[in-house]
């Protein structure tokens, strides 16, 4: 009886197939031949479509100016890309544990990410921070937290990327350098990077922490300090990625990202540094979105544009200055909570584009990011995606395997041309700083984001699980949900409160006074921050002191006064 019912059901299902729809689907062809950014493509590309005339001048071999094909001659034969995962969860101790897990699983780099409170420059005991400490990353309030985070990780061996983007990157560097010093490392040997791109971070919800002049000042302080003291350190990762996540197109990502990079470079030149002192230390964070060829073309165009700008506009002589070094983070905004396992496939395609584009360092999103912070299983899946790419697929054998394709070269030219057009547009409103100050760029982002939503709404862009092939919403997340233990936050807040009661007040005040004087005198603030952090000055205290000198409220949220008055 039961069997009968089951077979009835199968029969029933088959008879419910819509055969008209089947026929339609059989003969279906793509509705559009546009790239994600909206560029109409031809049916086929031929030698006539090559815009770049001169191979040597416009393309060149990998490792040769203008580096269109890659910054190293033999690319991955020399070394795999760095396989990173971003870690930041709960307390410094929780984060340390997850980082160690990623290393155990074969990760070759470490990215630790700050939580919203740290990025905003708030201590864990700030009244607004209590609900959010450790929720989206790690909060470092004092040097003690940095010590816990570092633990026994060998700082001269691992490539550590500190993802603090806002003006809090200055305290981050101070805390990191102070901890490294206390552990006996020569800071000149430290390898890794700090994101330190406060200008762009105003677009990620951190405007109170990132006023434009303070962003340029503190961002450039970190860059200048590291140029002089930490030759192996990459001290800015200009974040094109976050701009892309706002909804802009591929060439806009390049144009606005390079525009922001130049804000810092112009300041470093004003400070008397030569382009070849800082050029080799600039790195970029690039998105890899879902349009495979367009993303590869975008990366190649960005490489060529950077090389030319550095050589022609800034007068770089050193080839290393002209090399566009970049990390890719697969596009978080391309992932969806609907049919979440599909995200694993999206991430894999995006990672493949990054590798074919010649990436130096790759972070794959976890499939569960549209639902929660990455679970351990999610992290592992993302890391394995990279490892399959690196060890199984053979994509590492040849540099720029798509170079010379009529289509790819033509699309590279197209993206470059469009990006240059967007840069010209910025110049026309008075340059990047002006475009930011007048909120011209804000309006740009807003209108692009609305356009992206409309494309989904009207079906101009098809996304599986959203406007095609929908299914019943899931009720569970396939590999579980990451929860942040609230106990960690409570503990962190308690420790910070305790520290503030027990530290040597006199030593602290003296160190803060030196920092204030240096800021007033227009000196680089990092050395004084390092000393103050050793005296247990906290993130908010370091930043607040400099903020006041620049005429901003001590507390970015405007509710606390300086304790040093």
């Amino acid at each position: 009886m039961r069997q009968n019912q089951a077979s009835d059901k199968v029969m029933d299902n088959a008879s419910h197939v819509d055969w008209e729809a089947y026929l339609k689907s059989y003969y279906e062809k793509p509705q559009s031949a546009r790239t994600w950014s909206g560029y109409e493509l031809k049916e086929i590309y031929t030698p006539h479509d090559r815009v770049a005339e001169d191979y040597r001048k416009d393309i060149g071999d990998a490792g040769q100016y203008p580096f269109t094909r890659g910054i190293h001659r033999n690319m991955f034969r020399g070394r795999y890309w760095t396989r990173r995962e971003v870690v930041g969860i709960g307390s410094p101790a929780d984060t340390h544990r997850r980082a160690a897990f990623c290393f155990q699983q074969g990760g070759s780099g470490l990215n630790t990410i700050a939580d919203v409170t740290y990025e905003m420059g708030l201590d864990a005991d700030h009244p607004w921070a209590q609900h959010e400490v450790g929720l989206t990353g790690v909060n470092i309030t004092s040097i003690q937290d940095m010590e816990t985070l570092v633990g026994d990780i060998p700082l001269d061996k691992v490539s550590w990327s500190l993802i603090t983007a806002s003006t809090a990157a200055a305290p981050t560097m101070a805390q990191y350098v102070a901890v490294a010093g206390s552990k006996g490392y020569d800071i000149a040997t430290l390898r890794g990077s700090v994101q330190n791109d406060p200008i762009h971070f105003r677009y990620c919800g951190f405007r109170p922490a990132c006023p434009l002049d303070l962003s340029i000042k503190l961002g450039s302080d970190v860059m200048e300090f590291c140029t002089r003291n930490m030759p192996k350190w990459y001290y800015t990762t200009v974040n094109m990625y976050d701009l892309r996540e706002q909804g802009v197109t591929a060439p806009q990502e390049v144009a606005y990202g390079l525009g922001i990079a130049m804000c810092y470079m112009d300041e470093l030149v004003r400070r008397g540094l030569h382009v070849d002192e800082f050029g080799p230390r600039f790195t970029f964070y690039v998105s890899c979105h879902i349009d495979f060829f367009e993303e590869i073309a975008k990366i190649r165009a960005a490489r060529r544009m950077w090389a030319r700008f550095l050589k022609e506009k800034y007068g770089a002589k050193n080839q290393r200055s002209m090399q566009f070094r970049f990390a890719v983070h697969t596009a978080g905004c391309s992932l969806l909570p609907q049919q979440p396992l599909n995200n694993i496939v999206r991430i894999a395609y995006e990672a493949l584009a990054a590798v074919l584009g010649g990436v130096q360092s790759l972070h794959c999103c976890s499939y569960d990011e549209p639902m929660c912070l990455p679970t351990e299983k999610g992290h592992l899946q993302a890391l394995r995606t990279q490892q399959i790419l690196a060890y199984e697929t053979g994509v590492t054998n040849v540099a720029d395997p798509l170079g010379g394709s009529y289509f790819i070269e033509s699309l590279t030219d197209k993206i470059e041309e469009e990006a240059l057009r967007y840069m010209k547009e910025v110049d026309d409103v008075g340059g990047m700083e002006e475009a930011i100050r007048t909120e011209w760029l804000d309006r740009r982002f807003e209108s692009e984001a609305v356009t992206r939503q409309k494309e989904l709404d009207n079906g101009e862009k098809l996304v599986v699980g959203v406007n095609i092939f929908n299914s019943e919403p899931e009720t569970t997340t396939p590999l579980g949900v990451q929860r942040i233990p609230r106990q960690s936050a409570v503990q962190q807040i308690r420790e910070v409160t305790e520290l503030k009661k027990t530290r040597d007040e006199k030593r602290l005040r003296k160190a803060i006074e030196v920092l204030r004087e240096d800021a007033v005198a227009g000196k680089n603030t990092i050395p004084a921050m390092i000393e103050a952090t050793k005296a247990f000055a906290t993130t908010a205290e370091l930043l607040g002191t400099v903020r006041e000198v620049f005429g901003y409220p001590y507390d970015p949220m405007g509710i606390l006064d300086s304790p040093f008055r």
């Binding site: 959010e132 990620c204 706002q246 984001a449 009720t475």
Partner: protein, 134 residues
């Protein structure tokens, strides 16, 4: 007697500043003929409810992204109850695991729209449910 225009408060709450989704939804609801009051970032539950009262809002839409939904939802709901806003729809948008949706509804959220929602879904829900609560 029903109101001529649906009035919607769209807001972020807490420190999370991922406001792209909130702004897009605000703009799309306007195009659907609603009057949308956008509060912006760094709102506290008390301020959101005060705005809803002053604007005589029919709907409050809160945008979450960073896992703060379980923390702030009860605070917003409690504040709404304190002011007897029992006929105002409370909807949430953003990133959260499906496991949390029943829990959020139990807390007092009327409907949830995650990433990948189409404007039509949100507009239809509001139009069909506005004025029916309480």
């Amino acid at each position: 007697m029903s109101k001529q225009k649906i009035k919607v408060i769209i807001t972020k709450v807490g420190l999370d500043g991922h406001d792209r989704g909130a702004k897009v939804v605000a703009s799309q609801l306007k195009e659907a003929g609603m009057e949308v009051v956008y509060l912006g970032m760094y709102q506290r539950p008390e301020g959101i409810v005060k705005a809803a009262i002053e604007e005589d809002a029919d709907v409050i839409g809160v945008s979450y992204l960073s896992g703060e939904h379980l923390v702030y939802t009860p605070l917003v709901v409690e504040e709404m109850k304190r002011h007897e806003l029992d006929d105002v729809l409370l909807i949430a948008g953003g990133s959260f695991p499906p496991e949390d949706i029943p829990c959020m509804k139990e807390m007092g959220i009327d409907e949830v729209f995650r990433g990948g929602s189409l404007t039509k879904d949100i507009v239809d829900y509001i139009t069909e449910n506005v004025g029916k609560k309480g």
